[in-house]
Amino acid sequence: MAARYVGDPRTIILCVLPANADMTTSDGLQMAREMDPKGIRTIGVITKLDIMDKGTNGKRMLEGKDVSLRLGFIGIKNRSQQDIIDRIPVKQAIEKEQLYFSTHQVYSTMNQNLLGIGNLTTKLTKILFTHIKHSLPQIMQEIRAKAKETEDDLRDLGPPMPEGGGEKTQLLWNMITDFIQTYKNTISGKYDSKRQMSSQPGKAELSGGARIKMNFYNLYQEYDGFSATSEYNDMHVQKAI
């Protein structure tokens, strides 16, 4: 199911990776690389920066030195299980996160735009806006094409069924007249908009009447120049007499 969503070229892939695992082996990132090889619609979110092994940090990952993405990475620190048990509200958790990044000896020296839920929100909003701006003309075109197709289908369905008995009879008569007219036009080879509308364009085939005429024309073609008396000789004639 994930592959179906990720495969859509209009989907932005939010690839969430834990900082305490090797990102190059992440299934999510691998799938994103497969579906978006240029990395133009993948944004990396690195979580659990606070529970990495002591002495290590996610600076290289965040700066895209391990794996590079056009939309880049953002590092965040979510609420821990203890925070959830303590019912710490999201607002307070964000403040705690900001404090964590601003006081951390490595992250505090980094570009702050790569860190924090606030920056992630801003970045996602910007990406979404740009994405909509790029995709909207195509979506509108698709909607127009779909609307036209549906209108054609609706027109093919014909007029709606009337309520009254008299009107129903009238409709039936009209349909029968239409049938007769179209049938006659098909046989005589006259142009008929109803017939043309539903025939497949580019498909060269003879109309009904012409096909029948051709069959009649081909009848006895094999007997052309055939001599009925060639099989008889004088003996046959003598015998018959």
Binding site: F179, T186, N215, I241
Partner: protein, 54 residues
Amino acid sequence: MHEGDGLPGFPSVDVFIYLINPQLERLRDPALELIQDTYQQLEQIAGSIVDKIF
């Protein structure tokens, strides 16, 4: 086998019919086949128009 009775000394018209009939019989099957084909085509045309209109 056959004896002319129209004109004395000439063979009967039955002789001609006797000889030509097997040849004419050959024309029967293609004609019937054509009628059958035409019937099927007309039915197909009618069917497709009915599908479009009704």
